[in-house]
């Protein structure tokens, strides 16, 4: 055994309380596995927000439709990276594609991801932007012209019939996309929920709780991005749009909170043999991340803020400030939710007799720095996407007359 590992285990063994099995001292699913469901959750949530415009005809949130789509795409492109790095040998990642295991729930990610990325998101983005890409290309010179032409697959048809077909296609894809987004994130919850040996995870409510927390985090992220980007562009924030998105966020938070309460009460009422160790886990190891960060700061505080916005007639500036604080708190809360599920589920022994501790690395492939890099990366991807595919409804100069009203 190497000395470095031995020294690390000796250090960890001091943190163990009660009795744990020897292989439980080190937590194998690290912070990267926390980042993964957080990122995929944002994808699913942002896509659901985009679908509000196209399927449910919520006109108020139209200004964020394309931003939501691009956000979903940017985060989806980075989402598999934490898993790939966690494997320890990212260079062998392609093997999962050429020797797929159709009976493994985990391998399903490959199929669900491919379906969602290729068949849903890329197609919808393409149909949503096709006409604009053609118009941009007509106006531009040099490299950008060719990039836009290539992205439009060299199509050149902006006739009303073609544009009408684009709209129809977007609608159909969104209708297929909603269950797909549910599948993408519900599947992550399914992986945890189906691990019957772990009482912290094993719950049929898990996929649904994951899904609603995903919707909450995705809507909150798009609100945050909208509030940050719009002033930079020198445009006023559309308060109608912001209020409407915040309303949907409010309803999603209520559903998510109710589901989590239901899960909690159900566990207490069932009171299986694991209840003792789980209560120790919550009161001892997760008190800050669960009770303070997830429930108090991430749920109750934003709910309180949003209720007061609804009850009091506050002016626009104060509303904006309060929305901004709420969405930041919600992001913190949802990240804590993922942390509490992934790390919390590994901190108690399968013997139900002891607790261990997670000590995060700082550097290294599974450390804090990698996790932060993975959390920041989607924003860079988004910046590139926004540069290539501007999400604002501004017509390319000189061709405004050609545009067909959306």
């Amino acid at each position: 055994m190497n000395h470095e590992l031995l020294a690390r285990l000796a250090e960890l063994s001091k943190e163990v309380q009660g009795y744990i099995y020897p292989n439980e001292i080190e937590i194998h699913w690290s912070v990267l596995i926390v980042v993964y469901p957080y990122l995929t959750g944002l994808v699913a949530g942002a896509f659901i927000l985009a679908s509000l415009v196209k399927v449910f005809n919520v006109e108020e949130v139209q200004p964020t439709y394309r931003l939501s789509l691009l956000t979903a795409l940017a985060f989806l492109l980075i989402a598999p990276l934490p898993l790939l790095l966690h494997l320890g040998h990212p260079e062998r990642g392609y093997e999962v594609l050429i020797t797929p295991n159709p009976t493994s729930a985990m391998a399903m990610f490959g199929f669900v991801y491919a379906w969602y990325l290729m068949a849903v998101l890329l197609l919808e983005v393409w149909f949503a932007y096709r006409k604009d890409l053609i118009l941009y290309a007509r106006q531009e010179r040099g490299l950008m012209k060719w990039i836009h032409r290539l992205l439009a697959l060299f199509s050149n048809d902006v006739s009303p019939a073609a544009v009408a077909f684009d709209h129809k296609a977007v609608k159909v894809i969104t209708i297929i996309g909603i269950p797909s987004a549910f599948l993408l994130h519900g599947y992550v919850g399914f992986i945890f929920g189906s691990i019957k040996a772990n009482p912290w995870w094993s719950s049929v409510l898990m996929p649904i709780v994951f899904l609603f927390s995903a919707i909450v985090s995705g809507i909150a992220l798009v609100i945050l991005l909208y509030m940050l980007i719009t002033p930079f562009r020198g445009e006023p924030i559309d308060m109608k749009c912001l209020d409407k998105m915040a309303s949907f966020l409010f309803y999603a938070v209520i559903v998510d909170f109710s589901l989590e309460c239901l899960d909690f009460i159900h566990r207490l009422y069932e009171s299986e043999e694991s209840i003792k160790i789980l209560s120790q886990l919550v009161m001892n190891k997760l008190i800050i991340s669960l009770l303070v960060m997830q429930v108090l700061l991430g749920m109750i505080a934003p709910l309180g803020i949003m209720v007061s916005i609804k009850l009091l007639s506050l002016n626009e500036e104060l509303r904006r400030l309060l929305y901004f604080i709420s969405v930041l708190l919600i992001q913190l809360g949802i990240f804590s939710t993922r942390w509490n599920v992934v790390i919390g589920g590994q901190m108690f022994s399968k013997s139900l007799m002891g607790l261990t501790t997670y000590k995060m690395e700082i550097m290294g492939i599974e450390g804090l720095v990698t996790a932060l890099a993975l959390l920041i990366m989607p924003f860079f991807v988004l910046a590139v996407l926004i540069k290539l595919l501007p999400p604002w409804d501004t017509a390319p100069a000189g061709v405004a007359g050609e545009r067909v009203a959306a």
């Binding site: 009795y19 020897p22 197609l123 096709r130 697959l153 199509s155 073609a162 296609a169």
Partner: protein, 249 residues
């Protein structure tokens, strides 16, 4: 057929081309890959092959028994019957092949036996465990225990020789001053055949009531109303007798 294509919108045709190109690219790549990369069964077979190619170091008990029959027979009849010769003497294939030139080690220092016999809470209860610091310090294990037939030189006098965990728990509990035999009737033969002959456990509530009943003559222990307390349960179903709760009044 061509007419059908012409009726399709331009966008669909362009996407269809992309999809066809993608499918063609994937199919071509997959067809070019050698089967060893694509087929999991071949990869599993290769992994087994790689394991088989590793050098064999162990000879196995039958090889030892061929020359060391006396030790084999002795070990077979003792507590170490399920321990292979090479567990203590190390991998011995080289020795089996050239018995004169290569001699396997025979560990004699005190650090070796505690690998299995040092006290550890996760070992099965009743497995012989000692505290290497306290147990005949400085003396080699083999001075008292013959490793091929490791009968203790004397029959264990104290239950703690095997039941270390219980002893360590009881010693800090209110029952510290009670002998194990106060509650467990232990036949002498339990010390020789611990798994065949088992000590008894108190089977009625009256047993604990001797000290804990309201009318018990002993002073000091907490008293309860035997008829009503805990109804149909035997005392030790709720109270762990080796560490009963302490009542501070």
């Amino acid at each position: 057929m061509i007419n059908v294509f012409r009726k399709l919108p331009d966008a669909v045709l362009r996407l269809a081309v992309v999809v066809i190109l993608l499918v063609a690219a994937v199919t071509t790549v997959l067809s070019l890959l050698p089967p060893e990369l694509k087929r999991a069964d071949l990869q599993k077979a290769a992994a087994v092959q790689a394991e088989l190619l590793r050098p064999v170091k162990y000879a196995g008990v039958p090889a030892c028994a061929e020359c060391h029959e006396a030790q084999y027979t002795e070990t077979k009849g003792g507590y170490h019957r399920n321990v292979s010769c090479e567990t203590c003497h190390g991998a011995a294939k080289a020795h089996a092949e050239s018995p004169i030139d290569i001699k396997p080690p025979a560990p004699r220092d005190r650090a070796f036996c505690p690998t299995c016999h040092a006290y550890n809470a996760s070992r099965p209860r009743g497995f012989p465990q000692i505290n290497p610091v306290m147990h005949n310090p400085m003396k080699a294990c083999i001075a008292c225990h013959q490793p091929h037939d490791p009968k203790p030189p004397t029959v264990p006098g104290e239950c703690s020789a095997c039941h270390g965990e219980i002893e360590r728990t009881k010693v800090v509990s209110p029952h510290a001053l009670l002998d194990c035999t106060t509650c467990h009737t232990t036949p002498e033969s339990h010390k020789v055949s611990p798994r065949l002959v088992r000590p008894s456990k108190p089977s009625s509530r009256d047993f604990c009531a001797q000290c804990h009943g309201q009318d018990a003559a002993v002073e000091g222990p907490p008293k309860i109303e035997v008829a009503t307390h805990g109804e149909k349960y035997v005392c030790w179903q709720c109270h762990y007798a080796h560490m009963p709760e302490v009542h501070h009044e």
